[in-house]
Symmetry: C2
Subunit: 114 residues, 2 copies
């Protein structure tokens, strides 16, 4: 499946109000995530390097104590093991990339949407 | 520079009609590329795994002999050393991720826009 249509890929549930389509290569997890307005991602960290890019919406993002409101065209690079958290100020659509692969995401349950 | 604003990052020239902002972490190159309508990327390959995601526009993409027209929401995963080529059917805006880092991209010249 070299071409991946994230418009039709079934969504998985990451947290309340956070869901998306995920695809894993050998080296990287590449996802298209939706955060409902008000969705919260509490502070956490992981061994995976992460890149988050805002496609739509307004995302308040805190990385290692620095907070910015991210809007379309803005990315954040999250080094491995660095604490980060986020709050969706509006409905947000994001591109997320993780390396190495998020093995824990392979265990996620399907998202049961509205 | 954990937060990267690709709306204001100076563009580099990749080829005629192809330019964009690029940022390199230790492990990955993450870029926001613009392909002018009609821009051509001849068939090539590289050791880097690549992910390309269409944000805007319509991109005819050929990967290892399979061609698809990619539109917003569609990604392509290009394994290492796999031949690929592309043609921008319209102005295209893409997210590209490469791992490991594209060291050759660190030598690109600034894009001198219209």
């Amino acid at each position: 499946m070299p071409f991946i249509n994230y418009n039709t890929l079934p969504h998985l549930k990451l947290r309340d109000g956070i869901h998306g389509g995920l695809y894993h290569s050998d080296q990287l997890t590449f996802g298209h995530l939706v955060l409902e307005e008000g969705a919260l991602l509490p502070e956490h960290h992981h061994v995976n390097e992460q890149w988050t890019h805002v496609i739509e919406g307004s995302l308040e993002f805190t990385l290692d104590g620095e907070t910015q409101v991210m809007t379309p065209g803005i990315s954040v690079y999250i080094p491995a093991n660095t604490p980060h958290s986020a709050k969706a100020l509006t409905l947000c659509k994001l591109i997320d990339a993780f390396l190495p692969v998020r093995e824990d995401f392979k265990l996620l349950e399907p998202w049961v949407g509205q």
